[in-house]
Symmetry: C2
Subunit: 311 residues, 2 copies
């Protein structure tokens, strides 16, 4: 179901000479209003209750769709999902999960920015939700779950992470302990758990550091004609290396812990990114992410009633 301004959708479709019109399996829900990239996220349930984003979330809430994807205003996308889709039983705060490349493939980082102030039970829920996603959607038999800290050793961490670590050890997941930033990209963990503030720091610092390395290298390569020539020869290798961390390959970040699926895409998404974002949303549905998550949440609440209630 394409949600948006029908005339503009049909116009875009007609430009593609390979497809004369929409295939019959694709329908359109007409909603001309949309949220701008600079508008406050809360507009989606305040001044612009009627907009394509809100309608997408409502389609899922009403059971007419099972998941939605948007590459629009990320904050508004989150807000629409949180406002219209209820949290799963046992989940206090849904989390944004980001797929990141590492030396062995892909890992899931959560929370990537939805919850900047977290309590113990939030991080524990993130660990459980991340475990389910890595197992059912990413196909990892026994996902390695790690907690971001300032050292590998058990004694490292702040008050919050140390209290969380002692509970993660009791849960029916493959908790491997603390992970420090320098091991993030080694493939040591499949699921990396942290609060949304730290998650944002990790994502953005990685981006900044990678860019700094590339710019430094570029500057040194441009320093003399001999290096410049070698640099030209390496263009295809550089291009292939860049593709490893390309958001278009991922498509979007799934919102975990809500009833229904929601995937938040990058504002600069083009065809490939949108295709992969929709694929990501469909994956969650076909792998019963929601049902599996709810089942684990329930079994943990039953198995560790005192612990979980004490959180």
């Amino acid at each position: 179901i394409l949600v948006g301004d029908e005339p503009r959708i049909l116009e875009a479709v007609s430009k593609d000479s390979s497809s004369p019109g929409l295939p019959p399996s694709i329908t359109i829900e007409h909603e001309p209003l949309c949220i701008g990239m600079e508008e406050p996220p809360s507009a989606v349930f305040r001044s612009k209750k009627r907009c394509s984003l809100a309608m997408s979330a409502r389609l899922v809430a009403e059971g007419r769709a099972q998941a939605f994807f948007s590459a629009g205003n990320s904050g508004a996308c989150m807000a629409a999902a949180l406002h219209h889709l209820r949290a799963l039983e046992g989940v206090d705060r849904p989390a944004i999960a980001t797929l990141l490349p590492n030396a062995l493939g892909w890992m899931l980082l959560l929370d990537a920015g939805a919850n900047v102030d977290c309590q113990q039970h939030n991080l524990i829920e993130f660990a459980l939700m991340g475990h389910v996603y890595a197992k059912s959607v990413m196909g990892k038999a026994k996902p390695k779950v790690a907690l971001v800290s300032n050292g590998d050793e058990k004694i490292k961490g702040n008050t919050l992470t140390k209290s969380v670590a002692s509970i993660l050890e009791l849960l029916p997941i493959n908790y491997i302990g603390n992970i420090e930033g320098n091991a993030l990209y080694s493939g040591k963990a499949d699921v990396v758990v942290c609060d949304g503030f730290v998650g944002n720091v990790i994502l953005k610092t990685s981006e900044g550091a990678a860019e700094f390395v590339q710019n430094t290298l570029k500057r040194e390569i441009m320093r003399d004609p001999f290096s410049r020539l070698a640099g030209l020869m390496l263009k295809p290798a550089f291009r292939r290396a860049r593709r490893v961390a390309d958001y278009a390959e991922v498509g979007g970040a799934p919102l975990l812990g809500v009833r229904g699926g929601a995937v938040v895409g990058h504002g600069r998404s083009e065809e490939l990114a949108v295709l992969n974002g929709i694929r990501r949303a469909a994956e969650g549905v076909s792998h019963h992410l929601m049902e599996e998550t709810e089942a684990l949440m329930k079994s943990c609440a039953t198995a560790q009633p005192r612990k979980i209630q004490a959180l």
Copy 2:
């Protein structure tokens, strides 16, 4: 003053054929005991009260030296400084400051790991101490001080950083607002403030991300003989690029906020790193870092008594 096992120091000196013995300006304080790299930091004031590290800190505390540098056990180095050197007036928690390269030169990040649980007044003190270091030691006329957050906008941040931001605006420093990870290496800020947990995440994630970029690039370069040849041609450029982030150029991380100077070096320090580490320690003394810091702390406490007392 070289602190350590005298026979071993003299033996090391005698191996250097260019210098027949120590110059008269250099003396030795004999202390054969030392803290191993794997020993717990607290050993420095518990089981090994007598050791070269503790003696170095005591020399500063007693006024026989003005600063010390060590490339030994970092935790123990911190512990020795905190145990023997008193905190400056107005400073609740001293901080480890790290010099990091950016697109325009160098910036100072603090706290880099000494304090994993911070309150409002700790981050404010870090901002003030960082300001003084950047101004007096790094020679920045009007250092740009920024607070690590999950977005540039004023409304972004967690409960702690938002409350800190509103106070930083009132202080006599050039506070430029929030900084997000992706802008860290751009040169936007001269002083970057965060708690020690986040500081460690930034340092280690940068390390991990940079390594991942380099390894990915290397793998793509090794893929075919043509790229491998170009890669060989670029060896000098790669080497120059690596040097930009070489800890040996920095020498060590200064501990700010204590009476006397302390610089913590990397455990793998060789000649250049040790030389620069000692230079860093001397710099703090010759630029009156301690006196300038104390003066600013006092003037802020006088100018904003209600605010500072309310922290």
